[in-house]
């Protein structure tokens, strides 16, 4: 099998899985459904490994054109948009994450969803999601990427609203879709501008035609493209001001949260920015805006995470916050570390979500962390892997998050578009992260058990093979946890800081920088040409690393000290903060703000258009016109008396008049 065919197979197998499950295996046993769905992702994973570690690692790029998609004449030439896939090192990383983490989550979901009716629907959506996600990262031009970009949005819509019988879930799905759509408009406009500027939407064609002269001549347009892309990123990767959908998206089944709203879909913004890095770096306005948005999101979401009590909500806000870090990384010009953090985050956040799902599953859909506690004794594998995930996310030295996050923070200070203030914001966000993640882990797995036993017996669904005791889940759920935990530890070593590399005697760049060199070299050269070498010193790096480690340790210790006795530990602080606490607990009331400032006025406008515009004005004019005509005609119609004599008189008069006119 040649590489092109393999690449096509990677993309199409999940689609095949979705079609099989969605149409042909509706009545099949659960085992068949799950096996088909998992294989539809696992086989592509194997193929991807062969591709990425084979030709891609040796520097090749695979490109294949499936069919001609759109071709229209454009100003003398043609705008040809084939359905083309291309696999390079950047998409390679994402390919492995999507199929690898995806396979594990499919395996896990098979068990997690075991008591659901009609589970084929779930797996069809999930396979379809993977197909969309793959076309997003494999697309050789923006339109194919956009197919995936909106495709993941739809799958996310369907999966968030999977339990549609509760209207709240369906509403959350709709909210996600609409917020994404706002971002998609940005992406669309960026595409249109590319067509205008380059006459193409193909990444490599744009890269080839974007010269420094072109960029400086069209600086406003380049900035506009960058900002429109940022809007797209904000929608998909849940950045300010469009992040509001992600916390609500937790209404979906937990494997969905792990796969879509942590590991893959939400990181597509980072993928897109890295893909377009060669263009973005031409505009310092766009880059600075990206960095500021990223840093602000990181801190903003982290503050909300501090006080949430729903295990998934905490993780959701932490995802928004971590995405902020990644965007910050891209914004300051350290694209490779944005991608590195994307990867480590995919591991540890998927791990955390699956761990949370494991807990929720064992506790029969209880999500309030105040009702948990001490679970590590009953669920050791889940517990300890969750601890590893927490250590990774808070950046405990040696764990993956430490390396990727610290590199981003270092560049936030010293990168081309970096600024110490960005570092301060990021470090504050990291401090909050340490606090809420340790709080979460401690309240769920340690301390006294606060589980209400009565709760379980009230549960309706029939699970006779389950005892009501909380216990560890079967291997299909724990195996993914263990594997993800392993990667959460070792995943960070691809982005070893230079300072550490010097100490251990490694030369050159770290693994991720080397790997992504072909993708981001243009961007680096542009930045170097425009802003000079923006390297900080080893001392600065050590200093920043030390500071953030110290902050992390202090905040973690503080969290443990505060919640040692149970969830009420934070009450005194909450009371002291008063209104401010409630404001954060209500998520800064951003949803309410949008409702009042955007949604309601638009609704009122719609009503006004209908009642006033259509009914009163347009219909009024339309109906008044004939009424005016009627008024005139009623006068004329009075002449028509119906009396023959009168008609004859008129004829007489008319004849006289006519005769007079003709003869005189």
């Amino acid at each position: 099998m040649n590489y092109q065919a393999m690449l096509a197979a990677v993309l199409l197998l999940p689609l095949l899985g979705a079609v099989l499950n969605g149409f042909f295996l509706r009545k099949a046993p659960r085992l068949v459904t799950v096996t088909v769905a998992t294989l539809a992702i696992a086989v592509p994973f194997v193929l991807s490994c062969a591709l990425v570690f084979g030709p891609i690692a040796s520097g090749e790029m695979i490109r294949t054109e499936l069919f001609k998609w759109i071709s229209v004449p454009l100003g003398g030439g043609w705008l040809e948009i084939p359905f083309a896939l291309s696999l390079d090192r950047l998409s390679g990383i994402l390919l492995l994450i999507i199929t690898g983490v995806g396979s594990l989550i499919h395996l896990y979901a098979g068990e997690y969803m075991h008591h659901e009716e009609g589970v084929y629907r779930f797996f069809a959506y999930l396979n379809l999601f993977v197909f969309s996600m793959l076309s997003l990262v494999l697309g050789a031009n923006m339109v194919v990427t956009f197919l995936g970009w909106e495709g993941v949005g739809v799958c996310s819509y369907l999966l968030i609203g999977y339990w549609y019988s509760d209207e709240a879930n369906a509403r959350a799905g709709m909210k996600a879709f609409v917020a994404n759509r706002v971002g998609d408009l940005g992406f669309l406009l960026a595409m249109f501008m590319s067509v205008k500027l380059f006459g193409s939407v193909d990444y490599s064609a744009i890269a080839a035609s974007l010269t420094n002269e072109l960029a400086s001549e069209n600086a406003p347009m380049i900035t506009a493209i960058g900002l429109c892309m940022l809007l797209g990123v904000a929608g998909k990767s849940a950045q300010l001001p469009l992040y509001i959908w992600l916390p609500d998206a937790m209404a979906g089944p937990t494997p969905v949260s792990a796969l879509i709203h942590a590991a893959t879909m939400v990181t597509s913004g980072i993928y897109l920015m890295t893909r377009m890095s060669f263009l973005l770096v031409h505009s310092s306005t766009a880059m600075t805006t990206i960095a500021v948005i990223g840093a602000a999101t990181a801190l903003f979401a982290a503050t909300i995470g501090l006080v949430q009590n729903d295990i998934k909500k905490v993780l959701a806000y932490s995802t928004v916050s971590q995405l902020g870090f990644m965007v910050l990384g891209c914004g300051v010009g350290a694209f490779q570390y944005g991608v590195a953090h994307l990867m480590t985050h995919a591991f540890f956040k998927a791990l955390l979500f699956l761990g949370a799902g494991s807990v929720i599953h064992a506790m029969h859909h209880e999500q309030d962390i105040r009702k948990m506690g001490g679970l590590i004794k009953k669920m050791p594998i889940t517990g300890w892997t969750f601890v590893i995930g927490t250590l990774a996310i808070i950046g405990f030295p040696g764990f993956s998050g430490f390396f990727s996050k610290d590199e981003i923070l270092y560049y936030a200070w010293s990168g081309t578009f970096g600024h110490p203030l960005l570092w301060v914001t990021g470090a504050l966000a990291a401090a909050c992260t340490s606090f809420y993640m340790v709080r979460l882990t401690y309240l769920v797995f340690f301390g006294q058990s606060r589980v209400e036993h009565a709760h379980h017996h009230g549960h309706g669904h029939d699970d006779h093979h389950h005892s009501h005791e909380i216990h560890e889940n079967p291997w299909t759920m724990t195996l993914p946890l263990v594997l993800l935990a392993v990667f959460s530890i070792i995943g960070g070593y691809v982005s070893l800081p230079h300072a550490i590399m010097h100490v251990v005697g490694l030369e050159g760049d770290n693994a991720i920088t080397q790997w992504l060199y072909p993708v981001i070299s243009t961007a680096k050269e542009v930045m170097k040409a425009a802003h000079g070498d923006a390297h900080g010193s080893s001392a600065l790096e050590w200093g920043l690393m030390g500071t953030s480690t110290l902050v992390m340790l202090i905040m973690s210790g503080f969290a443990i000290a505060l919640y040692k006795a149970g969830p009420q530990g934070g009450d005194s602080i909450a009371q002291a903060a008063g209104g401010f606490y409630r404001l954060i607990l209500d998520k800064w009331r951003v949803d309410e703000l949008y409702q009042a400032v955007i949604i309601e006025p638009l609704k009122k406008l719609g009503d006004a258009f209908f009642k006033f515009g259509d009914r009163a004005v347009i219909e009024g004019i339309i109906n008044e016109g004939p009424r005016g005509i009627y008024l005139v005609t009623s006068v004329l119609s009075d002449i028509q008396s119906g009396l023959v004599r009168n008609y004859l008189k008129l004829v007489f008069v008319a004849v006289i008049a006519l005769g007079a006119w003709i003869f005189i």
């Binding site: 028509q640 119906g642 023959v644 004599r645 004859l648 007489f652």
Partner: protein
């Protein structure tokens, strides 16, 4: 001094005015019918007189046509009046204004 045909023309004009006044001012359909006959006869007289003046035969031919038409008209008209009288019990023209606008 007027010749006979010329007198006939003037007389036909007077006759026409009488007929026209009759149709315009009478309210009884029967009298209106009679007035219409007068109108037709005025026209006949004009035709014949003109025929004499020009010395051609055409006018006299047309007169016969008009007489034939007038006979038909009288027959149809009377039939209509009878039908009207049967349905409306009236032959007043003012009662017939279904076409009023």
């Amino acid at each position: 001094m007027l010749t006979l045909p010329e007198l006939g023309l003037y007389f036909s004009f007077l006759l026409f005015l009488v007929g026209l006044a009759g149709v315009m001012f009478r309210k009884n359909i029967l009298f209106m019918m009679l007035s219409v006959e007068i109108l037709l006869n005025a026209a006949n007289l004009a035709f014949v007189s003109a025929s004499r003046i020009t010395g051609t035969i055409d006018g006299q031919v047309v007169m016969f046509f008009v007489m034939a038409v007038a006979a038909c008209e009288a027959a149809v008209g009377l039939a209509l009046i009878i039908a009207l009288y049967r349905t409306k019990a009236s032959i007043e023209a003012d009662d017939l204004k279904a076409l009023r606008g």
